[in-house]
Each structure stands twice: as structure tokens, then as C-alpha cells.
């Protein structure tokens, strides 16, 4: 018998969301963590992808290259666009049929909409927005369970949650907290097509119009360089300076929540607990105090430069380097120097 580790392969408009690759990587690691235990019982663990959409054959192959050993594909016109009830029905039906052990879903807008509904209709437990996952023994069980760890109370506490007596053990997982495993171009795997019956009442809510907004186009989570501004900018105009530095570095603009709340910049730029988790190569925080809710969203960046005039600002506790001073003096100087060094670099 094999224990199934499932990953929802989120896709939209013919593209797989990067979080799916991250989750396939995690699922493989988790499967590895119980391999020994299973061997004794003559069992194996298998990582499988669940793909729902319309005309998504290519994506099934891509999911295999991203790490799925097998893909269950639900492919029909009703699934072209994401809708909660048909998708819920699809996942519920598949779970009932194949009884996976663990089911991971990205903690994206779509994933969180879906996971809550699926878990409730299966009457199983769901841990939201996880940042760490491992298989381990919990008190009173002699079986390895999914230990799902997540921040709570605004990031002040981290809690590890288990789901002991119900299957599957479900979790939504924050994009960008795990690394995707490298794409294996040669990977081969089975694709199993599944049929799901969609009844008219499941289509009681329908998308009637799309509104594409510019802001959503920035992909903060996956940027290499992010320059973020906080309330220390003093006014929305300060973001012009942030943007100038970001442009100079080929990066994108981020923000603390204080500025989003103040209406200085749109929510899509927010980094942190209730915004995006980011892990760029370079993160610059200017005029951000470093509340725990902000730090949890950026503290795993490779290099963090904090600029703040208060030497006791908590942001410095996560900074690789901290500059104590006025951002309105420091950033223009940075821009000038970078600009100059680039010109020099170009000539050499």
C-alpha cells in the first residue's frame, strides 16, 4: 500500500503557481521523513499532484517535472476558471476515492478559499498558512504525523498543530517559505484523468466580469531585490524615492502595513504577516520600525539592509547591516553611488 502525499497544483490562465513547485518539494521531503517507518511495514510513500482546470495536459507534465510522481487531472470546461464549489467538489471526490495521508495547498487567495471548504466538507482538520512542516511523533501516538507550524497572534507566537485522528491531514502553506526542488526535465509519471459531475446548483455563483488591475501585476514574493518603505517616509511622496532606489537596483517596491493603512500605497506591496512573505537576495527596509508582523515576512531574505534613524528600532535585530540615520540623506547617497559604480562597471 502506498501513503499518498498530495499537492494541489494551483494553476490559472495556463500557468502553474510557483507555490505548487515549492509544495511538491516539501511533500517529497515529508515522504522521505517517514520512508523508514513505512519500509518496516512494507509500505511506500508517493507524492502526487492534483490538477484541476480545462485543457491542462501540458501542466500535468510540468507538475511531474516539478516533482509529482503521479498526477490526477480533472479537465472539463466547467473548471476553466476557478470557482469554489465545483473545485471543492472535485477535491472532495478525489480525496474520498484515494484517501491521501497528507494534502498540501498553497496559502494563496485561491488556495485558502478552497482549502477551508474542502476540509469542512471532509470533516477533517486544516492548519492554515504554515511556515514549517515536518513529520514527527506527537504525544500519545506511535505514528509519525504532520507537524504543521504557523505563526499566530500576529506573529508573536508560533504554534505547531497536529491532526491526529482524521485524514487527510491538511495544511495551507505560505508561498515563498520553502524552496522549490529543481526541475527534472527527464521525469516521467502517470497522469490519471478523473471525471467529476458538476450539478447546476454548484454554478450558482459565476464570474461575470474580470477587472485586471495594474497593482496585481507586481510579483513581490518572487522578486530578487525589494526596497520597502515605512511610515518613516513621512508622506506618500516618499515612495518616489523608494521607487528610484528600486529602479536603480532592478528591484520592486515593498511597504510596511502602516503605509498601506494610511493609503500611501496599495496592499499588493505589503510585506509581512498579513501581506506577502518575501525572500529576496536583497531587502532594503527604509523607515520601517520592524514590528514582529513585518519581520516575519522578510527576515529570511539573504541580505537585509535597514535604514532607520532610531538606533533601537527592532528592525535592526534582523538586519545584516543597519544604517542609523535619516533615510532622506542615505537613500539619495546610495542612489548616487550605485549609479556611479554602474557607469564605471560599464566602461571597464
Amino acid at each position: 500500500m502506498s501513503r499518498r502525499f498530495w499537492v494541489f497544483i494551483e494553476q490559472e490562465e495556463g500557468k502553474i503557481h510557483p507555490v505548487a513547485g515549492e509544495l511538491l518539494g516539501v511533500a517529497r521531503r515529508l515522504a522521505g521523513e517517514i520512508a523508514d517507518e513505512l519500509k518496516q511495514k512494507n509500505e511506500t510513500a508517493v507524492v502526487e499532484g492534483i490538477l484541476v482546470g480545462h485543457e491542462v495536459d501540458d501542466l500535468a507534465q510540468e507538475a511531474i517535472r516539478l516533482g509529482a510522481e503521479r498526477v490526477y487531472q480533472v479537465d472539463a470546461p466547467e473548471f476553466k476558471y476557478y470557482l469554489n464549489r465545483p473545485y471543492t467538489e472535485a477535491l472532495k471526490t478525489l480525496v474520498k476515492k484515494y484517501k491521501p495521508e497528507v494534502f498540501l495547498i498553497g496559502a494563496t487567495t485561491m488556495g485558502r478559499d478552497l482549502a477551508g471548504a474542502v476540509a469542512t466538507s471532509l470533516k477533517t482538520g486544516l492548519t492554515a498558512d504554515c511556515t514549517q512542516l515536518e513529520m514527527g511523533e506527537a504525544r500519545g501516538t506511535n505514528k509519525k504525523l504532520l507537524l504543521a507550524t504557523r505563526p499566530a497572534f500576529g506573529g508573536n507566537v508560533i504554534a505547531t498543530i497536529v491532526c491526529k485522528d482524521h485524514l487527510p491531514q491538511m495544511a495551507t502553506v505560505r508561498p515563498r517559505v520553502f524552496d522549490a526542488s529543481p526541475v527534472n526535465k527527464k521525469a516521467r509519471g502517470e497522469v490519471i484523468k478523473e471525471k467529476i459531475k458538476v450539478t447546476p446548483d454548484m454554478l450558482n455563483a459565476q464570474v461575470v466580469e474580470f477587472i485586471t488591475n495594474q497593482a496585481s501585476a507586481i510579483k513581490l514574493e518572487y522578486a530578487d531585490v525589494i526596497v520597502s518603505g515605512g511610515r518613516g517616509l513621512g508622506s506618500p511622496k516618499g515612495f518616489e524615492l523608494i521607487k528610484a532606489l528600486a529602479d536603480e537596483l532592478g528591484g520592486v517596491v515593498g511597504s510596511s502595513r502602516a503605509c498601506v493603512d494610511a493609503g500611501w500605497i496599495s496592499y499588493d506591496h505589503q510585506v509581512g504577516q498579513t501581506g506577502k512573505t518575501v525572500r529576496p537576495k536583497l531587502y532594503i527596509a527604509a523607515g520601517i520600525s520592524g514590528a514582529i508582523q513585518h519581520k516575519v515576512g522578510m527576515q529570511d531574505s539573504d541580505f537585509i539592509l535597514a535604514i532607520n534613524r532610531d538606533p533601537s528600532a527592532p528592525i535592526f535585530s534582523v538586519a545584516t547591516v543597519g544604517l542609523v540615520g535619516d533615510l532622506y540623506e542615505i537613500i539619495p547617497a546610495l542612489i548616487k553611488k550605485i549609479h556611479a559604480s554602474k557607469n564605471k562597471g560599464g566602461q571597464a
Partner: protein, 279 residues
């Protein structure tokens, strides 16, 4: 006439949270509790539509007796009736058990006074799970619209609503039959500043209290700890990072400091030059 129902939760104000350094657990005492901010916006949206269409708003919360003050705040904003579902037997509930308790209570309310639209907050800021709203919708079999940012239209005669929601790539307008359930972002409505007489009336308001037995007789196996498949295995405080180097960058030291930092960045990012690279 609209009958809107709003599910709200009282939460500790997580901006003011305190952690016991010994046990790593939350010190609840002295931490102010507030109505979950998203829920307050949801109530505000419901009030806006009540003003447009006429009707009434029922607010429900499952929580401890102290949650009365959160319901009072909803009355202050313009809700008409508050129900507190409160019983020791409910304690330890996770989102699955919570959605059961709320769904059953809502069915009861619906029997007496049919509901058109259910509002939830996007998520509660204590747990940030965003699961209760979808859970209740599934249990009631209602269409679910999450991350709602704008209600364009509510047409009670023809039984539909147009709701704008936010997704990762875009916003979309959903046309849904009624009754439906939605979870709300803050943009859904501004929180009104109540007139003083309304505030005073709300401070005197006493909500109805429902227990695990009355008027809904709950299935013991589905509530509280017993009805919760997930359990907290352990808690801790987030890891503290090693602070890096602090450099003063003001006045005469500014130039040097900036140079130093740029060098460090270059060194660090050696594999992938970020600066002076392609442009």
C-alpha cells in the same frame, strides 16, 4: 427587505500582545480585546446595504461572555440584534467545530427569519486562518465569495447579488444567487462613527445568549475539543535573529557608511551581482 447576518469574533488586539517569557504563551490578562477589524468592516458593509434596502442585521458570535462588548460595538455601528453563542462546552473549538456551531445557529435564525446574505471577515487576526467563513458556507450549502472588496448590487426581488472579489491576478465580479456567504476585505466599507445616542444605546444593549442546549441542541461530538480534529501540539516564540552590524550614517560619516554598505552587499551577493550588473 434585507436580512443580513454577520459572523464576528472578539480577538485580542495583536498589536498589544504580550507573551509570557517563561511559558511562551499569550498573557491574556490586560490585553485589550477588540472586534476583529475585518469583521467590523463586514458589519459596516451590511449596515450600508440595510440603509439602501431597508431590513435588519443580525450579528452572531461564538465566544466567552465578555464577547458581549464586541456585539455591542456592532449595535453601535447599526446592527439590530446580537446573539452570543456561549457555553463552556464550546471551548477548545478549532475552525471545523466553530463552523458547525455557527452553521447550526444560523439555520435556526434562518428558520424564523430567512437570511439573504451572510458576511464574515476575511480572517480573524488572532489565528489568521480564514477558514470559518468558507466552512460555514459549505455546511449551509451557500455559494461562497471570499475576499470581497465591493458589493455592486443586491437584488432581493430577483434573488441575486453582484460582488467584486480580489484574486491574485485580478479582481472579478461574481454574480451569485441568494442566499450567499461572503468574506470581506477592509475595502468593503468604511466604519461609521456612530452618533452618541447610538453609542449609549449600544452600551446598554444586552444580546441574546444561546447555549449548547438551547435553542439549538448541539451534537456533543462535534463541538469543543472533541469536535476539533486539530490540536495545538506545542507553542513557542519566534526565533530571535542575531542582530547584524550597526553603522552610524549621519553628517560626516554618511559617505563612508554608504560605501561600506555597498561593499558588503557586493561581497555578499557575489554569486549574483545585484549592483553594477545588467541594467
Amino acid at each position: 427587505m434585507l436580512h443580513a447576518l454577520v459572523g464576528i469574533k472578539q480577538v485580542p488586539d495583536t498589536t498589544n500582545i504580550r507573551i509570557d517569557p517563561e511559558t511562551g504563551s499569550l498573557i491574556r490578562q490586560g490585553v485589550p480585546t477588540i472586534i476583529n477589524p475585518y469583521d467590523a468592516h463586514a458589519v459596516a458593509a451590511a449596515v450600508e446595504w440595510k440603509r439602501k434596502l431597508g431590513g435588519k442585521i443580525t450579528v452572531i458570535t461564538m465566544g466567552p461572555p465578555a464577547a458581549v462588548s464586541a456585539l455591542q460595538e456592532c449595535i453601535e455601528m447599526g446592527a439590530d440584534k446580537g446573539i452570543l453563542v456561549s457555553d463552556r462546552k464550546f471551548s477548545g473549538a478549532d475552525t471545523l467545530a466553530t463552523s458547525y456551531v455557527l452553521a447550526e445557529a444560523i439555520k435556526k435564525i434562518h428558520e424564523e427569519d430567512p437570511i439573504d446574505l451572510i458576511f464574515f471577515g476575511k480572517q480573524a487576526i488572532d489565528g489568521d486562518t480564514a477558514q470559518v467563513g468558507p466552512g460555514v458556507a459549505v455546511r449551509l450549502g451557500y455559494p461562497l465569495i471570499t475576499y470581497a472588496v465591493n458589493i455592486r448590487e443586491v437584488n432581493l426581488e430577483e434573488g441575486y447579488a453582484l460582488i467584486e472579489r480580489k484574486t491574485e491576478l485580478r479582481n472579478e465580479i461574481i454574480k451569485t444567487t441568494l442566499p450567499a456567504a461572503m468574506t470581506c476585505e477592509k475595502e468593503i466599507a468604511e466604519i461609521p462613527y456612530a452618533a452618541l445616542p447610538d453609542l449609549i444605546a449600544s452600551l446598554r444593549y444586552k444580546p441574546q445568549v444561546w447555549t449548547a442546549d438551547e435553542p439549538v441542541a448541539y451534537d456533543i461530538a462535534q463541538i469543543g475539543l472533541k469536535g476539533s480534529p486539530t490540536m495545538v501540539f506545542k507553542t513557542g516564540t519566534p526565533v530571535q535573529h542575531e542582530p547584524g552590524e550597526l553603522i552610524k550614517a549621519a553628517g560626516t560619516s554618511l559617505d563612508k557608511a554608504v560605501d561600506l554598505v555597498l561593499n558588503k552587499i557586493m561581497e555578499h551577493a557575489s554569486g549574483a551581482p545585484l549592483i553594477g550588473g545588467k541594467k
